[in-house]
Every structure is written in structure tokens, then in C-alpha cells.
């Protein structure tokens, strides 16, 4: 199934340029490496101490002209390589002049979410039309991630608290790896998916029908097995954001099971515990309030009011944490709106309810 590759596929306008530069650098490097290895082996044989016949008219003092000449030559060569690479880099980093297709991207621990101009959203998958300049507006909700598509020879760190743009133009339809390239915690190696480069017509159809694509929520498994095209795909259609909270969605992500046990598993896999302690042994203060016994407890808010931590409050805290901030804590909890299905949310809340109290 996997043909052995020595060289990656290229599927963007820049890929070819980067490859040519890379191969040129490799060639120069090989020349130097060859010269050095060759020189060592040749001299080691020729001037081996047992080889008495070799001429050894010792030269003790080197000439500065030799060293300066070497420095000069290497400087010229280096500046050449630098200039080539620099120009290409500027090319990659400069915003294109023409119109672009804009896609918003949000990275959070171990999930990529993309939102198209139409409002279509997808998780761990990105659909783009071929031959069109795409601008990705990227941000992170927690730590630093890095958007990496090897076939595009494109990588960009995605930082929390700021927007970062990247541009690319896909040239070959197909399905390519999307990786997270900056270490971001437990499931860093699972934080990936696929970029689908489609013919413009297909792309338009895909947008209209209700996007099909990414099949799983990052942490929950199956990341590198390429889904067969006709595998049941998940609809995260346009306008999901507008769906009233609590309204049942047509295609749930996972089979229905709202037990607290499943909530506990989610709590672990979504790494809630990175902020919320469920024990009191940690060495350092937690970043978020302890959730043991939170259900049914009055909670003092930042604005001085007090609310009862009932079920709607817990739901809101998870979906829209900034709506009501607990006193004494920074507003850093990310929203899980785009990550959790309703069932998963219910499971989480059930789990929280089950935590003592």
C-alpha cells in the first residue's frame, strides 16, 4: 500500500522551488562532503607511515593568502545560497496581491478546526480548491502549535493570543497529510488530519452539500488511517454555530452514551485536568478551579455576583467559558464548543455531577 518514497510529493506552487533549492544545497553539500571524505581517505593511504616512498617535503608555514582566499570563496558561495533561500522565503511569507480564499483556522490541544467563508466548519480536515490562493488565518486557544503540510513545504507556528497568516496555492488535487509540528502536549503526534485539494467544482459542491471530511475528533483515535472516500463522513455543515444550544444534531459524532464514565474518559482525553485538579496533591496551584463537588455549589464570579453551579451553568462554562468567569481565575479556559458533540457535553456534565458534592 505504501510505496517507498525517497522524496515527498509536491502539491503547491512553492513546493517545486523549495525542492530545487534543496537539491542544489544537497549537491553542494555532497561536493564538500565528498571532498573531505575523499581527501581523508586519499591522504590516509598516500601518507600512511608505512608508505615510505611518498614525497614529504614538509611545508610548515601556511600562507595567509590561502586562508583568506578560502574565506572569500566560502563567503561568496554562502551569500549565494543565502540569497536564493532568502528570496524564496520572502516569496512564501509575503501576502499575495490578488484575491484570496480565506479560511479561519483554530488550533487547540490536539484538534484543528477550520471555518470556511460560508460558515462551513470541519475538524482535522481542510478542503481547498486547486489553483486558488488560499489565506489561512490561524490562531491557537491554548499552546503553540504548528500548521504543517509537507506536500506544500509549508509550516507556520500558531500562537495563542494572536493571529498568524499563511498563504498557499495548491496545484495538484489529492489528499495530503496535515501535521502539528510544534510539540503541544500529550497527543501532539495525533494532532493531524488531511488536506483535501479538490477541483474547484468539487469544492463548491462540497461547500454546498454540507462539508464532508475529517472523521474524528483529534484525541479520539484513528488519525492516520486514510478514510476510504465512501466511509461514513461526519457532517459539520454550514451554520453549525447558529444551531440553538441543545438542539439535537442530525449526525452525532459518536454513538449515544451519556454515562459519567464516558465523561470521565473525555475529561482525560481532552486534558481538562491540565487546568482542573481532581485531586489535591499537585505541587503547584492549578490554573482553574477544582471541580470536585462543584455541582450544586454557589460560585462567586469575577463580577462579584454569585451563581448556583447547576447544569446549564456547567454547560455554559464548557461551551462559552468567558460568559461567566469564576472569581480569582484568569479567563483562559478555551471554548469546547467546536469540539464536543452534544452527547459528549452531556457526558462531561454527568461526570462533573458525579464528582462528589
Amino acid at each position: 500500500m505504501n510505496t517507498l518514497r525517497f522524496f515527498p510529493q509536491g502539491a503547491s506552487a512553492e513546493a517545486g522551488h523549495v525542492d530545487v533549492l534543496f537539491l542544489a544545497l544537497v549537491a553542494v553539500s555532497l561536493a564538500f562532503i565528498g571532498a573531505v571524505f575523499g581527501g581523508i581517505v586519499y591522504f590516509a593511504v598516500k601518507y600512511r607511515h608505512t608508505n615510505l616512498g611518498a614525497e614529504r617535503k614538509h611545508i610548515f608555514e601556511d600562507r595567509w593568502q590561502l586562508e583568506v582566499g578560502l574565506i572569500g570563496a566560502l563567503l561568496v558561495l554562502s551569500l549565494g545560497a543565502f540569497t536564493w533561500a532568502g528570496v524564496l522565503y520572502i516569496d512564501i511569507e509575503t501576502p499575495p496581491t490578488g484575491p484570496t480564499l480565506d479560511v479561519q483556522g483554530v488550533a487547540k490541544q490536539w484538534v484543528w478546526t477550520f471555518e470556511h467563508a460560508t460558515g462551513a466548519r470541519e475538524i482535522n480536515a481542510l478542503h481547498v480548491p486547486v489553483g486558488q490562493r488560499v489565506r489561512l488565518v490561524l490562531t491557537s486557544e491554548d499552546v503553540i502549535h504548528s500548521f504543517y503540510v509537507p506536500a506544500f513545504r509549508l509550516k507556520q507556528d500558531v500562537l495563542p493570543g494572536r493571529e498568524t497568516n499563511v498563504w498557499f496555492e495548491a496545484t495538484v488535487p489529492g489528499r495530503y497529510h496535515l501535521f502539528c509540528a510544534e510539540y503541544c502536549g500529550t497527543d501532539h503526534s495525533a494532532m493531524g488530519g488531511w488536506v483535501d485539494v479538490m477541483e474547484p467544482g468539487d469544492y463548491a459542491r462540497w461547500l454546498a452539500v454540507g462539508a464532508t471530511g475529517g472523521s474524528d475528533v483529534g484525541a479520539l483515535g484513528g488519525r492516520y488511517d486514510q478514510p476510504t472516500p465512501d466511509a461514513p463522513a461526519v457532517a459539520l455543515g454550514p451554520g453549525r454555530r447558529e444551531a440553538p444550544a441543545g438542539a439535537p444534531r442530525t449526525e452525532p459524532l459518536v454513538a449515544e452514551d451519556a454515562s459519567a464514565a464516558r465523561g470521565a474518559a473525555l475529561f482525560a482525553s481532552l486534558n481538562c485536568a491540565s487546568c482542573h485538579r481532581t485531586d489535591s496533591l499537585a505541587l503547584y496551584p492549578a490554573r482553574g478551579p477544582a471541580l470536585v463537588g462543584v455541582y450544586g455549589r454557589p460560585v462567586r464570579l469575577q463580577n462579584g455576583r454569585t451563581v448556583l453551579a447547576d447544569e446549564p451553568y456547567l454547560r455554559e462554562s464548557i461551551l462559552n467559558p468567558r460568559a461567566r468567569i469564576v472569581q480569582g481565575y484568569p479567563p483562559i479556559m478555551p471554548s469546547y464548543r467546536d469540539v464536543l458533540s452534544d452527547d459528549e457535553l452531556s457526558a462531561l456534565v454527568a461526570y462533573l455531577q458525579s464528582l462528589g458534592g
Binding site: 517507498l4 573531505v36 614529504r56 543565502f82 500562537l159
Partner: protein
């Protein structure tokens, strides 16, 4: 093998001399010693242990990476493994490696003095190092750390649930050891040179230690401060680097790499110095371009401070800064190129002896050039956008750090082993191990270049199946490598008991350290040395032959030639 014919180079039979080894007995005399030679031995034991630890972790990682899913360990365990591997190898093995062992042992001997300028400070450095190391070990054992050796924020400050604080404290403590050692070396080199040991007669190894020390003194405090801020942020939940609280993670990257790029030159310069010594000795020829090699060490130390941003080309740093850091990275490569050129020129018309240390020197040059040239490839902006944080980078730095520095360390250890212990190691085993290490090394890390360019990201405990072939090759290689590293451990220990006596100067080498008996007396020299010659006068007639056997064989050969 060698019939013990009296050799002109063997020491005269003597009543048991007082050496630094037998000058005092008992644990106390070792643990409270201020003798730089004994402290060097203590360091050697400590860093060997740390290397073994880091190596075992590397091997476990390689086993995990045999198959695409994370099946041998959980992904959390894998993350802890590579973090601990990087941290232990960088701070507790490679940075102290040559300076604190060979450097500590040889610096006073080479410049002809009794000890370092501040002997008690030297012992203190060792204990600081040990405390830092044990701290880190404890943290790694109880919970571990999963941030990678780079501690990028806000992951390390706000998200990781592991023992970040303890590990950071360990490295913080170790940093003082590094600074104090550097300070001690600099002051020693300036104030304690023997009469006649002018700067242009200084051994090149001393030059490289001097340059290394400058980096340790000027870069480490920035790491110290950065780790303090990180620890404070983590402990107190204040937002120095966390954007959620107004902090700036890119500032962390700047501060971290301001230290950590120069630190990679802490990790290579001493090795470059060792190689300069080995090449000239086993070519029996004066080193080519002494001034240039000495000067290039200083140039690397200075320019090395100007390129740190090449680790941040895709971090969100400005494009202009990227350009500046990239061009300077090319410039900093030139002093390294000068060294390589002068070494090769030294071989030219030499009289080359392929002894174990020389094999290591050759391996070093080759692997360092591969690592260095790929360093230039990753310094090329547009290419780095693709290969940053892939196995291409992993291969780059293992070529330099393992293929380069570790090889230089082994080469130096073999070269000075007779001086340190007074015993000869078995040459045949030495050559076999050197070759095996070279083969195993390349098998381990060459495939990583290919999969890196294919797009295999680093710090992945689970990966896409198409990369598996290369991972399997790499793991196979690391098995060979692991076995190969055990060989020197075995035969060097063996030689302590069974090795033949070395005599003061088994290589007939130049340099003050060879003028005193092996192992040296506690005060290094029986008579205060005075230097009258140029360094590396291997061209002089009396430096020509390495040992009597060889002299005899050559004479016979010559004779038989002239006959026909």
C-alpha cells in the same frame, strides 16, 4: 603480543612513585579533593552514568518507533522519554563532557601549572553539577517531564502536568556549575601559564577550552534568568510568558535560544580542540595554520551569539529578523570550515598512523562536515520552513553532537587514557569499536535525513505508516550503536588492571602534559616547566617514531628496499 623488551620510552623501573591516584586513599580523599585531576575523574564517572541513562532512554524511544502506533509505551511515556533524553544528554552529558573531564585534567598540565586558579571552586562546581543532576534525576523518576528540552511556553508554564518546576530547578543549579567552571578556566589560562607559554604557543585544545568558557560565562546567565521566570510563572501562576495573561511566548523563545544556540558551540568547540591535537600527533607533522585554528575558535564563540533566531524561522518572528539570523548563520559556518581545511592540510605530506584516536578524528571530521553542511541547509530560510521540527533537524544535530562531539570525546579519551591512568588500552579492540561506532551511527541517523525531508515531524510517538521503513533502519542502527558504545566501556576498564604500563609519553607527542610521568604526580610536575619550543614540533627528528617496535620494523623495511 608485545614481548617486553626494555623500551627507551618506558619509565625506568622505580620505587612506587606518588601519583595523583595513590597520593591519598579512602573515599574522603576523593570526595573532598581539590586536585583538578581527581575532580576530572569524578566528573568522568558522573557523566558516563548520565550518558548511559540518556542512551538507554534513546534506545527505548527507538524501540517504540519501530511501529507506527504508540504501542510499546503510552504516548505520555514517550513524551517523557524524549524530553528526559534531550535534557540529560544536553545538560548533564554533552555540555560538561569534554571541558570538565579532559579539560579539567589537561588544562593545568598543558599550560604547565599545578592546578586551576581556584581549586576549591572547581570542587564546588562538581558538587553543584551533581546536585543539579540528582535533582533532575529525581524529577525524571517521580513523574518526569514532557515538554521537550526546549520548554516552550505556555505549554511548559501553564499546561504540562509534569514535574517541570523540579527539572528546571535542576538545570538552573547546573548552570552555576557551568559558569564557575568557565570562569575558572579563563582565569587559569590568563594567570597561570608557565614561563615561555605564550599565547601563540598555547595548545589548540586550550584555545578551544578558552573559547568555550567565554560562551559558558556569557550565555548561561541568560538561561538561568529565563528558567527563573519560567519557574516563577509556573509556581505562582503569574503570566510572564502566557498570552492568556498578557505574556509573550516568543520572548521566551528569544531568551531560550540566546543561550541554547551558543550552547551548541559549548558542545562542539572542545571537540574541535581535541581533534586538532589528534590530527597533528598522528600525522607526525606540525599543525597547519595554527593561528587560524586558534582564531577560528574565538570567532565561533563570538559569532555564535548572533544567530540564535535561526531556530525561530517559522515561529512568528519577523521576516527581517529571519533574514539577518540566516545570513549570520552562514557566516558562523566559515570558521568551522577553516578548521576542517587546516586539518586536511595537516594530513597532506604527513606520516599518518591509523591508531584508534586517529580513526575517531577521521570519523569526527567526516560526520561533523555532514552535520555542519546540513546545518547550512536548515539555515536556508525557505528550506527550513519545510524541514523545521522534522527528523531532518534531528539528524542534523545528532550528526554534530553524537557523530561529532561524542566521537571527539572518545578519541580524546583514548589519546589521553595512558596519561590519565598510566595504562595502554588494547589497540585492536579500540580500532574495532571505532569502526563499529561509525557504521552504527550512520545507519541510525542517515535514514532520518530522508524521512525528515519526507515530512516526518519530530517528537512523534505515533506516526504515519509510510515512514516506517526509515524508522526500522534507524532502530537497527541504534542497536549496533548501543553495542558499540559498550565496547570501550569494557576494554578501558579492563586495561586499568591488565593494560601494559604506558610510560610518560607513549605517542611520543609534544606538549607539556607528556613531559611528566603517567599518571602525573599530585603537583603535576616535579620541576616547574619552562617552554622553549613552538607547539606541535612533530617535524623534528626525535618526534618521528612512535614506538620502538615500529622503528625496528621500518628500519628493516628500509633495509630490504635498498637491497633490491
Amino acid at each position: 603480543m608485545t614481548t617486553t623488551a626494555p623500551s627507551p620510552f618506558a619509565p625506568p623501573p622505580e620505587a612506587t612513585r606518588t601519583t595523583y591516584l595513590n597520593a591519598g586513599t579512602g573515599l574522603r580523599s576523593w570526595l573532598l579533593t581539590t586536585d583538578h585531576k581527581r575532580i576530572a575523574v569524578l566528573y568522568t564517572l558522573a557523566i558516563t552514568a548520565f550518558f548511559g541513562l540518556g542512551g538507554v532512554m534513546a534506545f527505548l524511544m527507538r524501540l517504540e518507533l519501530l511501529t507506527p502506533p504508540s504501542d510499546l509505551f503510552t504516548i505520555d511515556t514517550y513524551n517523557r522519554l524524549f524530553s528526559a533524553h534531550g535534557i540529560v544528554m544536553v545538560w548533564f552529558f554533552l555540555i560538561p563532557s569534554i571541558p570538565t573531564t579532559l579539560g579539567n585534567f589537561l588544562l593545568p598540565l598543558m599550560i604547565g601549572t599545578r592546578d586551576l586558579a581556584f581549586p576549591r571552586l572547581n570542587l564546588l562546581s562538581f558538587y553543584i553539577f551533581l546536585v543539579g543532576g540528582l535533582f533532575t534525576l529525581a524529577a525524571v523518576s517521580f513523574g518526569g517531564i514532557d515538554t521537550g528540552w526546549t520548554f516552550y511556553t505556555p505549554y511548559s508554564t501553564s499546561f504540562s502536568q509534569t514535574r517541570v518546576f523540579l527539572v528546571v530547578m535542576g538545570i538552573f543549579v547546573m548552570g552555576f556549575s557551568s559558569i564557575l567552571t568557565g570562569l575558572n578556566f579563563v582565569v587559569t589560562t590568563h594567570t597561570l601559564r608557565a614561563p615561555g607559554m605564550t599565547w601563540n604557543r598555547l595548545p589548540l585544545f586550550v584555545w578551544s577550552l578558552y573559547a568555550t568558557s567565554l560562551i559558558q560565562i556569557l550565555a548561561t546567565p541568560v538561561l538561568t534568568l529565563t528558567l527563573v521566570l519560567l519557574g516563577m510563572e509556573r509556581w505562582f501562576g503569574v503570566g510572564i510568558f502566557d498570552p492568556a495573561l498578557g505574556g509573550d511566548p516568543i520572548l521566551f523563545e528569544h531568551l531560550f535560544w540566546f543561550y541554547s544556540h551558543p550552547a551548541v558551540y559549548i558542545m562542539i568547540l572542545p571537540g574541535l580542540g581535541v581533534i586538532s591535537e589528534l590530527i597533528t600527533c598522528f600525522s607526525r607533522k606540525h599543525i597547519f595554520g595554527y593561528n587560524w585554528i586558534a582564531g577560528s575558535s574565538l570567532a565561533i564563540a563570538a559569532f555564535g551569539f548572533l544567530v540564535w533566531g535561526h531556530h525561530m524561522f517559522v515561529s512568528g518572528q519577523s521576516v527581517y529578523a529571519g533574514l539577518v539570523f540566516s545570513v549570520l548563520s552562514f557566516v558562523v559556518a566559515i570558521p568551522s570550515a577553516i578548521k576542517v581545511f587546516n586539518w586536511i592540510a595537516t594530513l597532506y605530506m604527513g606520516r599518518i598512523y591509523l591508531r584508534t584516536p586517529m580513526l575517531y578524528a577521521f570519523a569526527f571530521i567526516g560526520l561533523f562536515v555532514i552535520g555542519g553542511m546540513t546545518g547550512l541547509i536548515v539555515a536556508s530560510l525557505a528550506v527550513d520552513v519545510h524541514v523545521h521540527d522534522t527528523y531532518f533537524v534531528v539528524a542534523h544535530f545528532h550528526y554534530i553532537m553524537v557523530g561529532g562531539m561524542l566521537t571527539a570525546y572518545l578519541g580524546g579519551l583514548h589519546f589521553w587514557w595512558p596519561k590519565i591512568t598510566g595504562k595502554l588500552y588494547p589497540e585492536g579492540w579500540g580500532i574495532a569499536a571505532a569502526i563499529l561506532i561509525f557504521v552504527g551511527f550512520n545507519l541510525t541517523f542517515l535514514p532520518q535525513f530522508i524521512m525528515g525531508y519526507l515530512g516526518m515531524p519530530r517528537r512523534y510517538g505515533a506516526y504515519a505508516p509510510e515512514f516506517q521503513v526509515y524508522h526500522v533502519l534507524s532502530t537497527a542502527g541504534s542497536t549496533v550503536l548501543g553495542v558499540a558504545y559498550l565496547l570501550p566501556l569494557g576494554y578501558l576498564l579492563w586495561s586499568l588492571k591488565y593494560g601494559p604500563d604506558a610510560g610518560p609519553n607513549p605517542w611520543n607527542a609534544t606538549g607539556l602534559e607528556w613531559t611528566t610521568p603517567s599518571p602525573p604526580p599530585p603537583d603535576n610536575f616535579d620541576e616547574a616547566p619552562v617552554v622553549r619550543d613552538m607547539p606541535y614540533a612533530y617535524h623534528l627528528e626525535h618526534r618521528q617514531f612512535m614506538d620502538p617496535d615500529e622503528a625496528g620494523a621500518l628500519a628493516a623495511k628500509k633495509a630490504s628496499r635498498s637491497e633490491d
